[in-house]
């Protein structure tokens, strides 16, 4: 076992640990999170080898990088002492002796930028490493990183004295830069329901979207999760009751969903997107789906609708209407009517569908918004075959949304269940539009 230093971002803390655990589990890596500290961006983990360290981090969004841990000190003299006291110091030093290398600086908690002379001064203190290899600023074989931490004196100012220094050899940077690649600002086709890139990629990690498998989004909209799933090499399939979302409205937008996959060069991972009512699902029932990831409609930007007439009497006999010798409902331009549906029923349907279609161990992940009312308990939907694995909350001012992640455990699991009951006491849409005042 070797010690590795994980350097994480100090953001989305409700998601950070879930992402790390999910990636470790995905690659079958055992990590001990006993010393995981929500308030710290650092975590030292024991791993079998470098390969494991790479796997653990390469698709992470909430980690920055992983390093082979060489030492830590509260100041430079103790850091140097600790590095040389590490049991495998000599062996490590010698195995890097003739490699090309460079030093990198990172800092956490302060915006104290080192000047070039300061940097050279600091690097010179590491003379005892006795590296003989060429110093290469571009593409060196090894990058040694000094991470300094600074604490805050008051909420506005950070100390200009570092209070801790980590030193390590870079093993793998994370996939965090992808959140810029997928930034909605640069996306060719998007809409009001498009989901931000960072959390859509994180959702894929927590849902364990795997390369070469099928990921399905039943409320695909403009395809934000499909794009994220294809990024992780899954084959993505989407459906939405609103065809306008899928094909683009035409007016003012010459783009559609497929353009996004072309733009990100993941077209080969895009299977199809279809106009379909999730509750009248046309995917054959014995088709296994590896992962389901979605952001169901909650009535804010899109209402919850399913096929059927709101007012059945008005539609009585309409199936007999004939236009130009053809049954109207069989014509190419026919637009079926839709009726409102309750969120509770929709989520019940989603859980039931997941329990039937996911393989054992497969994950369902979806987003659910809730009003932050002190006296209203949020009831999380449950199904007896599904283990609720994560409930990660993202807080806004008066409301929050949560990523709920379930694992299909099959018929024998017999977990708690609450379908068929009215879970949401208040309509989120009403609460949203009255600004959560009543």
């Amino acid at each position: 076992m070797t010690k590795y230093l994980l350097y994480m971002v100090q953001m989305h803390l409700n998601f950070r640990r879930a992402e790390l655990e999910s990636l470790a589990d995905l690659f079958n890596i055992k990590i001990n999170l006993d010393s995981y500290n929500e308030h710290s961006p650092f975590l030292i983990v024991d791993l079998d080898n470098e390969e494991q360290a790479k796997q653990l981090i390469q698709r992470s969004i909430l980690c920055k990088a992983i390093y082979e841990y060489w030492g830590y000190g509260q100041n430079y003299p103790t850091l140097h002492q600790n590095i040389q006291n590490e049991p495998n110091f000599v062996q490590r030093r010698d195995s890097n002796k003739f490699k090309s290398f460079k030093f990198d600086f990172e800092s956490f908690g302060g915006n104290h930028k080192k000047s070039l002379p300061e940097k050279i001064d600091t690097i010179n203190q590491f003379k005892y490493l006795d590296f003989q290899g060429e110093i290469k600023l571009k593409d060196p074989q090894e990058i040694f990183t000094i991470i300094e931490t600074y604490s805050m004196i008051d909420p506005q100012t950070s100390s200009n004295q570092t209070d801790g220094i980590y030193f390590g050899r870079l093993i793998q940077r994370s996939d965090r830069s992808s959140m810029d690649l997928y930034d909605l600002k640069k996306r060719p086709y998007k809409g009001t329901t498009s989901f931000e890139s960072e959390l859509s990629l994180i959702s894929c990690n927590i849902a364990q979207v795997k390369p070469g498998t099928i990921m399905y989004d039943p409320f695909a909209g403009t395809g934000s999760f499909l794009v994220a799933g294809a990024h992780f090499d899954a084959f993505v399939l989407g459906t939405d009751i609103d065809g306008r979302m899928i094909r683009g409205t035409g007016k003012g937008s010459e783009h559609n969903m497929v353009d996004n996959f072309r733009y990100y060069k993941t077209e080969s991972h895009f299977l199809d997107v279809m106009t379909m009512d999730f509750t009248h699902n046309s995917l054959r029932s014995n088709l296994p789906i590896d992962t389901i990831l979605c952001d169901p409609p909650y009535g804010i930007r899109e209402s919850i609708k399913v096929l059927g007439a709101k007012d059945p009497e008005r539609f009585e006999g309409k199936e007999n209407v004939v236009i130009d010798g053809e049954k109207a409902y069989l014509r190419k331009d026919y637009i079926p009517t839709k009726k409102p549906y309750s969120l509770d029923s929709l989520l019940d349907d989603l859980l039931k569908f997941a329990s039937e279609r996911l393989p054992i161990g497969g994950r369902l992940a979806f987003w659910m918004p809730t009003a932050n009312d002190e006296n209203v308990e949020t009831i999380i939907p449950l199904h007896k075959n599904l283990e609720l694995k994560y409930n990660c909350v993202q807080e806004f001012n008066k409301w929050s949304r949560r990523l709920l992640v379930y694992i299909n455990r099959g018929d024998k699991y017999n977990g708690p269940e609450n379908h068929g009951i009215k879970r949401s006491q208040t309509n989120f849409r009403d609460r949203y539009f009255t600004h959560f005042t009543k």
Binding site: M274, M276, K332
Partner: protein
């Protein structure tokens, strides 16, 4: 809509679920416009993975609807491990890739062989919605 997707779609009408005629849908060869997209990369790993889930008789049926009767009557039996694949098997996978992923129906009609309901494919997007009397 990719040819592969025809292997996923059944009739949306719930009452048709008790019939085994609701899958695959019947494609009207005279009205279906087929397009070949060669930009889609060959990914043998995915094809191996998906082959497992494919309903082969349905592939044969839809291919015949669309005028292709040259497919083998049995689903190809291949090594499941990528590294064990031989030349011959890679040729089969390439053919499957061309059929399943590179071939799309851009315009067309499909019909449930049980209830007779007709669904359309427009601009490559199939529409599986139903009128209220069938929903």
């Amino acid at each position: 809509m990719k040819f592969l997707t025809t292997n996923f779609l059944k009739c949306s009408v719930k009452a048709c679920d008790i019939s085994n005629l609701n899958f695959p849908l019947e494609y009207d060869g005279s009205k279906c416009k087929l397009v070949q997209n060669e930009d889609i990369e060959f990914q043998p790993e995915f094809l191996l993975n998906i082959l497992d889930r494919i309903d082969w008789p349905a592939i044969l049926q839809v291919a015949a609807d669309l005028g292709n009767t040259s497919l083998p009557s049995q689903k190809p039996e291949l090594h499941t491990n990528m590294d064990e694949l031989n030349e011959e098997e890679l040729v089969i996978l390439r053919d499957l890739h061309t059929l399943l992923l590179q071939t799309s129906i851009t315009e067309g009609e499909m019909r449930c062989r049980n209830c007779g309901h007709v669904y359309y494919i427009k601009n490559s997007i199939p529409n599986l919605l139903l009128p209220p009397h069938l929903a």
